[in-house]
Symmetry: D5
Subunit: 96 residues, 10 copies
């Protein structure tokens, strides 16, 4: 199943820089690992904002939640999830 | 360049059914043609709504506008455009 | 998979009453059929509004969309879909 | 009476971790106790967010308020309450 | 139980004036009848708008919905319902 | 004159508990005093939220402002004021 | 008492032009009459919109409502009312 | 003075096509004339929407209003006006 | 030129009281000085909120900005500016 | 390509003044440098707010993002980006 996910990241100005840098590094490693597994199928940066638009390819919502809620930067994110499905005009059987 | 585009379609209840069916058929043909050209790169249906989430791969905003504004159902759409770019954590050089 | 769905119904004041009554009857029959199948798991009325809160138990978002988009009153609905999953504090293995 | 309740939890980044962990444990115990009593009838996690959708089965709004306002994490919650009633198309006499 | 209800009335400009006048008269009669029964406990006009703020004293949400949804002007209303309960600082046992 | 007032109270998580408890006690005393004077005519709790809906019976807006702005918890409140007047369908000459 | 009132006028595109012109003329006459009486104290046009910002000097909200709700263009207006009072930094005893 | 103006155009689906085409032609002529006069200083199309972002260079708000409110398509526009002034970091004395 | 300005003041609960009192005193002095000059033409308190509605009579937007942005409490304000002009129904040549 | 960018700057009240002053100076230097390069084509102040409206002339969204996200004050900004293109009524071939 595909889920469209937007993540707006807001790091409080008085957060511990060292901690945040560590979390960012962990976040990047996790994101790249999930992309290699084909789970985090698309990851784009929204131009001009500390936000991304992503598409996840997972079995179901539980898998998605377990994945998102354990992202290192999750506590600093405002996440919006939209369930996607095949568009009748799509030429792809399975628009990955 | 990649643009993230959402299209919410609202057909007035008193619109001429025949006209709308014709426009829908034209819309599908156009969408499939643009997909085959690799321009309309992704086209997903938002589950539960007459809406889609799309990603367009175009030279620039002018190309995007000329394309969207001439879609048969454009007059019945509320369109939101977001410019995308490569995410620093993306493992893809060019996340198409 | 469980989906939380809200449906706000807005019937235009100049819609054909006979047509709307027919659609309402069809909608009721369909809703009751889907409930008997255990698909439309919960259907509650929002007090004071022509709106409902529902929970659907379906295989995936595609099934949900095919079901919702073919409801007789779908053209008159504003639908919001939220993907649900098991809450870590739930005592139910599967909170249907 | 059934009440639909959404709870968005926002833990300030500089809150005392030990205190929050304690509150979370108390919250889980309370939630499970109320579920066993059949009061907290449904508790679902919103996929991707630190939010839940719940349905409470209580005598009236006062009971609901006394219950919600004494939840350990209440000070960190944005709560929305919607009064529900039986939908005319529901096949259940009492859609618990 | 007390419910706080706001009703914003929007009469389409091309509605049949005679029909609307009839509905308004029926609405007034119903409202006054319910007030005499002590059900429609408070009915205030929002200064400057075709809106009212009301407080209903009913057994439960089902009663409230059956009452509101059968108001003659209901199809032209945007209704918001808020469940009320006793405020700990109220000097009234039962602030009707 | 009647004013409909909603007060959403948000106490910062790092506020001094002793100070807040003191302010809450003062707030309760003031609210009860104003109720006894018939000024704070109605005070209801919004079920599930640290919010109230109130109706004030005052000479004019200046009186209302002087009263609200000197409430002990005013600095922690988001207040919305709506001027009310008699509804043409009200059976009460003066719906207090 | 002073009330700050904004009026956004939206004339439906298919409204009868003659009727609307008549209503506009009546509206202008009424507005000018009320200004001469010192009731409609300020009437400004919002640059770029078919909207105005006004300040009314009336005895109370009832007077304001009776006046606004009988304006010829009232059915085509979205009105927002804000009760004003003297600002502690105003050098005017009575900032008309 | 510079004013930033956005114009969202919404043509009702049942408007008379001939009338709208005429208005569009008049609108284009007026816009080009005002651009030649240096009044309509910038006119950009928002990619994907029937909207524009413009910057007007006028003596004052009255001039701006008289100009905008007499645009042929004004009745079909939702206009937002923002007053601009020189930014302290601008290298232009007068950023036209 | 007239500008309609609303100022919502939000003082952080952990701001230094002495500093804030000093700023408030400076703010009052500046506001009264500008009123005496006829620049800050109207200054009203929004009943029930730490907000004001003001009308400024200035040469242009630059003057307005220089004035507002140097108000002592500006860093704690959410400011909305609306450019005003003469209403065609105003009986005043220059509705100051 | 032209991008319309709004930047609302919110400096936390408890931020280190010296650090903020340094960032502001760096921001001004960067902005002026980019203006001289013709990249930051327009930079206007929104009257009354710590906000600007800008137009950037860049190759694509990636360039825009790299530029905006490295502005010294970026962490304190809420940025909205809108892709622009040539308006069919523009008399300029390339409305810079």
């Amino acid at each position: 199943m595909l889920f469209h996910v937007t993540m707006d990241v807001r790091i409080p100005h008085d957060a511990d820089p060292a901690k945040i840098d560590r979390l960012k590094a962990e976040e990047k490693a996790r994101a790249q690992d999930l992309q290699r597994q084909g789970i985090w199928r698309h990851l784009w940066r929204v131009a001009g904002r500390y936000s991304n638009v992503s598409v996840f390819d997972v079995a179901d919502a539980q898998t998605l939640h377990d994945l998102l809620s354990t992202l290192p930067l999750f506590p600093y994110m405002d996440v919006q999830v939209t369930a996607l499905c095949r568009h009748p005009s799509s030429i792809h059987e399975d628009d990955r």
